[in-house]
């Protein structure tokens, strides 16, 4: 039974902060290319499980934070994150019914779209990546989705976040 009053919001913010931290954590050499889209995954999870808590606002805030960390223009990584949140929110009714691997498949497309928007914005600001390697994080993230989902779901139930 879901109570109308939201509680334990700090769990959401904590997981998002952790994702932000992971997105700047140093990685060895060429593993940098395969850095999973942590923020995208966590935003997707909360939009999927708690759509009434609003994913777009959080996506916007953390997108701006990531922009400051990465030194890109304000909104440059916020826009793809908002897109992820929006797509997951609009597919939410259907995605909830899917088994995890099928959710992964859908997320592969969603994250891919976000990454393409990111490419478009990068190109506009004159930082066009020379190869298609910028798409590598997408399958990696999609493969990580089941684990992220199980971990965050455990956390959500443990702290009873509604």
């Amino acid at each position: 039974m879901i109570s109308g009053r939201p509680n334990n919001g700090w769990v959401i913010w904590f997981s998002l902060t952790l994702a932000l931290l992971l997105s700047v954590a140093p990685m060895p050499g060429s593993a940098e290319l395969a850095r999973p889209l942590w923020l995208g995954l966590v935003i997707a999870f909360w939009s999927l499980t708690l759509p009434h808590r609003g994913g777009l606002g959080a996506a916007f805030c953390f997108g701006l934070a990531q922009d400051v960390l990465a030194g890109t223009l304000f909104g440059q990584s916020a826009l793809p994150l908002i897109l992820i949140a929006f797509l997951v929110l609009s597919l939410q009714q259907r995605l909830r019914m899917f088994p995890l691997w099928q959710q992964s498949m859908v997320l592969l497309v969603v994250l891919g779209l976000a990454q393409l928007v990111q490419l478009w914005l990068n190109t506009l600001t004159g930082n066009r990546p020379p190869t298609l390697l910028f798409l590598v994080p997408v399958p990696i993230s999609a493969l990580l989705w089941p684990w992220v989902f199980v971990a965050l779901q455990g956390m959500r139930q443990r702290f009873a976040v509604y």
Partner: protein, 320 residues
Amino acid sequence: MRLLVFVVLCVVLMVVDARFDALKTVRSQMGLVLTPFYWVADMPVRIWRGATEQIASSNSLMAENEKLKAEALLMQRRLQKLAMLTEQNVRLRELLNSAALVDDKVIVAELIGLDPNPFTHRILIDKGEKDGVFMGQPVLDASGLMGQVVEVLPYAARVLLLTDVTHSIPVQVNRNGLRAIAVGTGNPDYLELRHVAETADVKAGDLLVSSGLGQRFPSGYPVAQVTEVVHGSGQPFAIVRAVPTAMLNRSRYLMLVFSDSRTPEERAAAAAEAQADADQKAAAEGVEASTPPGESGSTAEAAQPAAGTAPAAPAQEAGQ
């Protein structure tokens, strides 16, 4: 529709951020809060390094000590020579009426983070606005130029490395003074020289030093070493590739250079003043063996009043 609102907000923010300076303060305030993220993210690496240093065997420490001692000895020798050469250089410059070369002031900074985007070559360092770091400041490591500061946060700064696609630096070949522009390729291993004529005298092995012509980097610091020159027939320019001398992806400690930001006139005036002071001191001490006291005295008198009023003139007068 909330999506539309947020998307429009993002686009507006991006345009404002790209075109105007209005968001700079917001960014620096957010940077104040977010810089610790880099510290925390870097913590495991820090701890690992600390641990390896703790458990390093005394054998390897002794070997390292030995190596450093030998290196210091070599450096000492070069330094002795350098003192003599500097002295000589100053004298010759005096003869040529050109301003004395002032040694640049340097502070040491530590690397705290790499840019999460693998397609840009930028790093974050632990010195910021509070330490006097400014936009466009040159950054060096022990073996050469690394790049320049492109963003200043209160306690951190972002450095664009030489090899980033958007970076170029004016250089000259150390052997013959040939000028060129070294452009980043996006590949951390080499730079390319643009618009070098097919017949230009560049060979593999040439050292490229900064020419200082862009007025951003100080002149005379090593930038890269030419590795290959391709003369393709039918192409207007030769392809010249060079490896940066700085260890762009290995250096953890970097130096920020505060080069002389004064105009050449001001510098000349200061040099003339210093020269006059030195002459006066020499005259006061009664050193009469080498130079006739009357001559140095007149130089001092000629230079001193002029230094205060007309900044451009004294350098010429001081030498006469």
